[in-house]
Amino acid sequence: MGQCAACGAQLVEEFAALLDALVYTTSRNRKLALIAAYLRAAPDPDRGWALAALTDGLDFPAVKSNTIRTLMMDRVDPVLWALSRDFVGDTAETASLLWPEPEDSAPQPDMSVGEVVERLSALTRATAPRELPGLLDRLDSNGRYALIKLATGGMRVGVSARLAKTAFALAFEVPVEEVEEYWHALAPPYPELFAWAADGGEAPDLAHAPRFRPFMLAHPLEDGVVDLADYAAEWKWDGIRVQIVRAGGVTRIYSRSGDDISATFPELLDVLPVDAVLDGELLVRGSAQGGEAGGAASFNALQQRLGRKTVSGKMLKDYPAFVRLYDVLLLEGHDWREQPWKLRRATLEGLMPRLPVSHFDLSQLVEAEDFAALARIRDTARDEAIEGLMLKHRDSPYVAGRKVALWYKWKRDPLLIDCVMMYAQRGSGKRSSFYSDYTFGCWAGDPDAGAELLPVGKAYSGFTDEELKKIDRFVRQNTRSKFGPVREVERKLVFEVAFDSVHASKRHKSGLAMRFPRIHRIRWDKPAHEADRIDALRALIKD
């Protein structure tokens, strides 16, 4: 195990050991050190593939979770598979444990990460079922786990893209902001990135590539007060934050995490007339947010457009997208990021007449006499169906990440409603033995007159580990019936549920769908019949 003496390649087993070490380490610093050590030790292309795998940057269309399940069905009784999968909570891990050890235990040739990636890439849906068993037979259970995770994605080892980039920067002592800038413009296994950082080569030449720049983010303004002489206010629109980039005549749209979502919004790809990097909110035309003047539909409407790889003409017509601009980072070869916000704002305002109003508008500033007046305006955000306010220091440069005292987000207070737990489902991953996902309902009428509960939402956050244990115990002791990983429970536990907004929905029997529901408080003390009715929730719709 370890490095192949002859070729120096990093073996799958070594990558498997890294994955396991990451799984069992909760310390961020320790994770950084583990990844950095791996990146320093591994050669190209293994280290690049490993990095891509850790950050979900690999995709092998021929191998899906279902491919693995199908392979297992030929080798394990389906009932035993289902019981095992349910207990373990992860398909890759279950398969790695249940894969039959090959009868012939002759020593198998070693495989490098690079070789595995090469072989996985060559698979088609037709050949995968024939070829995968041979690869799995060459590995032990940890190796199989790594291979399946590599093939199907979703590592779940507690490594965000940001953490991996930080580890990369740490490994080769380069600035993380530069890593982030180059990263998104390059493709796995990132030879140019390693040539620059690890081998002291030239920085990747990306001058003419429409590449992603790290976003500037905001801290929540908890109970603070700011001076409006120093801070400008604007609405926090409820869409998705995007960066629209044009370079060398090519336009790309990136999400907050740096994912390229251009294909989802084709109508925005030939409307930016200048080379620029702009920061804004992607929205769909409508009047839910801020009325006619606001011009934007609810997030619910935008959701119809998200996550699609191909977009129909009807979609484009029914849910036309546009970008409401917040900021300018680069414009016609000039980098504005180090300039104060007020200068960038003036530049952006100057740019607006050159942009087509069909696809761009400017996020207007919210004027108020003083902070108290602004607070009153914020209180109307609910009626306007807007998330809240942004406060930006007038002298703030555009810097990556969250920097104290430059930008604040000041969200409106959440809505609250009392619901009754109806179903509980076992979690996944770390929570696989706990009932941690709860479906709750409100009364369809007067509970004392025999009205029923109707499900209104589902939440799996907002409680502490201690509370989770307590709820888990409640679920187990109050089970009415079981459906696989789901238990129906006695209707007696009340949750105070916090949520950002509620919308009409055909997907639920109650006709309602909540946005960002989370458990606010667990009302062990409150009798279920005192929970809220559907009507109370319906009255909060602002669509």
Partner: protein, 334 residues
Amino acid sequence: MEPPFSWIRPEPWGIHIVPADIWVDPSRPVARALVTHGHADHARGGHGETIATPATLAIMELRYQTRAGAMAAGYGETLDIGGGVTATFLPAGHVLGSAQILLEHAGERVIITGDYKRAPDPTCEGFKVTPCDIFITEATFGLPVFNHPPIGEEIAKLLAAREANPDACILVGAYALGKAQRVIAELRAAGHHETIWLHGAMEAMCRLYEEHGVPLGDLRLVSDATKDQMRGHIVMAPPSALGDRWSRRLPDPVTAMASGWMRVRARARQRGVELPLVISDHADWNELTRTITEVNPAETWITHGREEALLRWCELGQRRARALALVGYEDEDD
């Protein structure tokens, strides 16, 4: 004539041997009890009369401070327990003193395994395969994903972690009865003769094991140690102490846990375990299925654990089987 095996009746709180009016591992106090082994979920206090192996009785005395009503049964000794029923205690290989109980009545033979394993264990006698008509087995690790590796591999991992962390200690969470002593004995067998530091709750049980002929080497209490004395050493504690304030007195502990559940990553993560050691005193899937095959009973009853999967395995092999819904048996820490 009464129908076959009607003399033995599973109830939610234990298995009732009707003609003798005696219960096996009851989870509530009864007049007469047969106890398979000393773990608290099987050996409860407060029975009028308790029949068990001498070591199990010693463990119960340590736990409940009383020997009242205790009656010893050595391995292989056949006792007349009344009502025309005899009971024979046979080694189960689970922990010191653990037994399967062979019950015979009117030519019918029933074995209740209690908890058991087939892997060798230097701290207790090994499981004895014995033919019977009804085999009442546990199924704690009754899923095919459970495949306990040879203990030597896990001990080697523990020693390697100790080697790699000379300034820290390796804190091993292990059940205070059985698991702790087995891990210590295996460490000794692997040539590790340094002091092993114990949580106070483990001291008395380790002494009891030594009195029963299981040497455990140099054991000392954490409460008598300075932080520096424990650097580079192994510390043993019950699983409940791992995340407890108690562990703050240790020098930068690396948290390990010796348990069959460590096979599943999510289980180890839930407990904040950094070094999972797959060591169990229960039969794994292969041991369970191999044992049923070797005993080859007419019928298999499954007491507790993941009984659905074992039932399914029996069904696939066309073996008669049923699951008993017994309450009160726990499997969380083993």
